[in-house]
């Protein structure tokens, strides 16, 4: 039997990262093939190779049994390969039909667009999907779920035989998911091959025919969804040889509580979250994408203040409305997106380290004491082993790991003793990761209270003295350090109806 798509020993390297190491993947007509793996396993990269966004460095791609070249997304579309990206790529101010036919508008004479035909063609596609949609509605007025329908219609408009969906349900509620699944089943019945990237176990069971698991840029295995238990898939996902150093949990019985959060909530994103953090402790936050961990961090830090709940810092109730309030209380936040939220990339290392503490190094006229800053910058460059030719190097020219260290230096200089690390090793290669881990352990040993948010389970396990697990805006449990990956996964996929036991972690202090 000829596969619809056959990808053989696909290899892809980025500077500093070997993203795909000879990966095989195949897709049959009329199947839903789930692609799973932790963040950074290479799923999206593989699919970007298939959809012409990236060019693989090695290997070959066959469609209908013959080798094809996919130099651009357009070439992939012409072969009937459509992709729906995680972030929807629609123009909010254009109508549904205008979005679907963008770049291929049916023309009349003098370059006029045939709006009527455009709308009729769009309506025909929606009719085929069994979806009621007004092609003239502006996309900005639709819900995320409806926008996703537009993306699917757009992909289908290319007569796609292959449809790649990257975490399509991340922003959908249950009834919207059900609607999406109806469409997916209908497409499958019509012979479309669907690649379904998701983290959610229950969805995979419900919708997919086969499951391929990837880990660290490698193909781990492909199994039939129907006769493979979830636990086996989880083991395949996390099954790498565990970290070289196991976590040693220090005795923190007598340590003071640095931060306590009670009943914190904001809309649907965060619901009744409560936990405490001691000095010298590393509290890991695990969960799947969209679990609300970043939202929680930003709420504590005042970047998006919560609607309700209390934050207690060093035993005193704190009112945190802006990041400036949080910083004054000694809370530092290292964003998962360093480039957008952590660094002024065009400025030099010295300026970035000083960014949060400038007034301290200025006299009454506002003059900056550059000499002193230079000394301090060089001191941190030495202490954190930041690899930069000198302290005047522009930060954008440093590697990811060294950029992260610059952000850490910024908060250390500001005397922050509660540090929230959001995905501290995202985009950082393996060697530098170990260095960041050591740094975090050292900081904890010095008495800093540390929160680490990470989507990589081995990272959470290696660092955390306790592990808080979130799912859909709720804290589903706190596990002691060294808990098993299966335990974490179970809590991370625990949907709302299941009872919450938040006391699990308190055992540790007795």
């Amino acid at each position: 039997m000829i596969e619809l798509v056959q990808m053989e020993v696909i290899d892809k390297r980025f500077p500093g990262v070997h993203a795909l190491k000879g990966v095989d993947f195949s897709l049959r007509a009329g199947e839903v093939h789930a692609l799973m793996g932790e963040n950074g396993a290479g799923k999206s990269t593989l699919m970007k190779c298939l959809s012409g966004v990236y060019q693989p460095d090695g290997g070959r791609i066959l469609v209908d049994g013959s080798e094809v070249a996919l130099p651009s997304p357009r070439a992939a579309q012409d072969l009937g390969i459509g992709i729906i990206h995680q972030e929807l790529a629609l123009m909010r101010d254009l109508t549904v039909a205008q979005n679907i036919w963008i770049g291929r508008e049916p023309r009349l004479s003098f370059g006029r667009i045939d709006e009527r035909r455009q709308n009729a063609d769009a309506a025909a596609i929606f009719a085929g999907m069994n979806v009621a949609m007004d092609p003239r509605a502006p996309v900005g007025s639709l819900t995320i779920a409806r926008q996703q329908m537009v993306e699917i219609a757009k992909a289908l408009s290319y007569r796609s035989r292959v449809l790649i969906m990257d975490e399509p349900t991340a922003a959908l509620n249950d009834s919207e998911i059900a609607e999406l699944f109806t469409i997916i089943r209908k497409l499958r019945a019509e012979g479309v091959g669907i690649v379904y990237i998701s983290h959610k176990m229950d969805e995979i069971r419900e919708i997919s025919d086969r499951v391929t698991v990837m880990r660290d840029g490698e193909h781990v295995g492909t199994v039939e969804a129907a006769d493979t238990p979830i636990s086996k898939i989880i083991t395949m996902m996390v099954g790498r040889e565990l970290t070289d150093e196991a976590v040693t949990v220090p005795d923190l019985t007598i340590a003071e509580t640095a931060l306590e959060v009670r009943n914190l909530g904001r809309g649907r994103d965060l619901q009744k979250i409560g936990f405490s953090l001691k000095k010298g402790e590393i509290l890991g936050f695990a969960g799947l994408m969209g679990a609300g961990r970043t939202e929680l961090a930003r709420a504590i830090f005042g970047a998006e203040p919560p609607d309700q709940g209390e934050i207690i810092v060093h035993g005193k109730p704190a009112k945190i409305c802006t990041p400036a309030d949080a910083v004054r209380l000694g809370i530092g936040y290292l964003s998962e997106d360093r480039k957008h939220y952590g660094l002024a990339l065009g400025m030099d290392v010295r300026a970035n380290i000083a960014l949060a503490s400038l007034p301290r190094y200025a006299d009454r006229l506002g003059r900056i004491d550059e000499k002193q800053l230079a000394v301090i910058a060089r001191d941190y460059i030495g202490r954190l082993a930041i690899r930069t030719p000198h302290d005047r190097q522009e930060v954008r020219l440093l590697s990811g790991g060294n950029q992260q260290k610059v952000v850490i230096a910024k908060w250390l200089l500001r005397d922050c003793d509660i540090l929230i690390f959001d995905e501290p090793t995202r985009g950082i290669d393996v060697g530098a990761k170990a260095e960041i881990y050591r740094l975090l352990n050292d900081l904890a040993a010095q008495g800093k209270a540390i929160i680490v948010i990470s989507s990589e389970l081995p990272e959470v396990l290696r660092l955390s003295h306790r592990i808080a697990v979130m799912c859909e805006g709720r804290l589903t449990g706190i596990l002691p350090g060294g808990a098993s990956q299966e335990q974490i996964m179970a809590l991370a996929t625990q949907r709302e109806d299941i009872a919450v036991s938040q006391t699990a972690g308190e055992i540790k202090w007795t």
């Binding site: 400036a324 957008h340 952590g342 660094l343 003059r367």
Partner: protein, 325 residues
């Protein structure tokens, strides 16, 4: 890229503008014997002073990633308020000077509040401010100019020559001296102070600065106020040169100033820019105007050439940075 290369890149950018300036000066000198005369050079410098000061003020705002369209009419409004204080109320000269700067700073602070607190995009906020100030200037004066004949020494603010008194061979007008003092002061602020550092940081990545615990709104307002104060100085200069506050004047000056900033290599996207570049940009514009006039080119064509220079300057910068293939 190491430090030397980085410095070379920044130097190249300034060198490009500076080289164009030299080429223009040499070209005009060869084309017309009247061009390279001390009196003509002084005239060029004097003509640069108002636009130069305005351009330096708006450079600050452009580095934060913003824009200020109100600087032209704000300059006029400051001149008008100075007229009110000096001519109508008969106050002494220093009060007039303070009034001009304070009026500018307060109006700048208001623009800054629109932008930082009310989150109105800078283009819109300062467009509104531009029209409000234009109207206010006309209302306050009843559309008639205010003359400074009763204030002795007012014209010497721009037209006198402190340096000429000391070194008679170089009668540099005070207006030019003030331009260079303002340039030096702002260059110092940008390079050495917290305010300057945050100016670049805001343009480079405002959200990162906010998440560093910096009160970005307050700093942004301070920057708009500073730029406004500098417009006040420009208002004094133009009033002194004309010996009057002309309420109908002002519109169009903002675009000339922004043009000078752009020619000087400051990025409208923010985060990047120098006072020296802006100064050179302003000089290029007045050398061009003056040179074409000396060569008896019609003023209509001078405008066309200025427009072309803006496009060429930015295109050259894009080429240098390898953005255009």
């Amino acid at each position: 890229m190491d430090l030397k290369q980085a410095r070379r890149g920044a130097a190249q950018q300034k060198l490009l503008a500076f080289a164009s300036l030299i080429v223009l000066i040499v070209g005009f000198s060869l084309a017309s014997p009247n061009f390279f005369q001390v009196s003509n050079i002084m005239a060029i410098l004097q003509a640069t002073s108002v636009n130069g000061v305005l351009a330096i003020g708006v450079t600050l705002i452009i580095i934060t990633g913003g824009i200020d369209l109100s600087i032209g009419t704000l300059m006029t409004f400051c001149a008008v308020m100075t007229g009110v204080v000096l001519t109508w109320a008969g106050m002494p000269l220093p009060v007039g000077v303070l009034t001009a700067i304070a009026t500018g700073a307060i109006c700048g602070l208001i623009s800054g509040t629109f932008v930082a607190k009310m989150k109105i995009p800078p283009f819109i906020a300062t467009l509104g401010m531009m029209l409000m100030l234009k109207g206010l200037s006309l209302i306050v004066t009843g559309t008639r100019p205010i003359y400074f004949n009763d204030t002795p020494g007012f014209t010497t603010i721009a037209q006198g020559s402190l340096i000429g008194r000391l070194v008679p061979a170089f009668p540099v007008p005070n207006g030019v001296l003030i331009l260079f003092i303002v340039a030096g002061l702002v260059a110092w602020i940008l390079g050495r102070t917290v305010l300057g550092r945050y100016t670049f940081a805001l343009g480079s990545n405002e959200e990162a600065v906010r998440l560093s615990g910096v009160n970005t709104d307050a700093w942004k307002m301070a920057i708009y106020a500073l730029a406004g104060g500098i417009c006040g100085i420009a208002g004094l200069l133009i009033a002194s040169r004309l010996n009057s506050a002309q309420p109908a004047l002002g519109l169009g000056y903002e675009l000339e100033a922004i043009a000078a900033v752009v020619i000087g290599g400051t990025s409208l996207a923010g985060g990047r820019g120098t006072v020296l570049g802006t100064l050179i940009g302003a000089l290029i514009m007045s050398v061009l105007t003056n040179g074409l006039r000396v060569m008896s080119v019609a003023p209509e064509w001078q405008t066309v050439v200025t427009g072309a220079i803006i496009v060429i300057a930015v295109y050259a910068d894009q080429l240098r940075r390898g953005k255009v293939g």
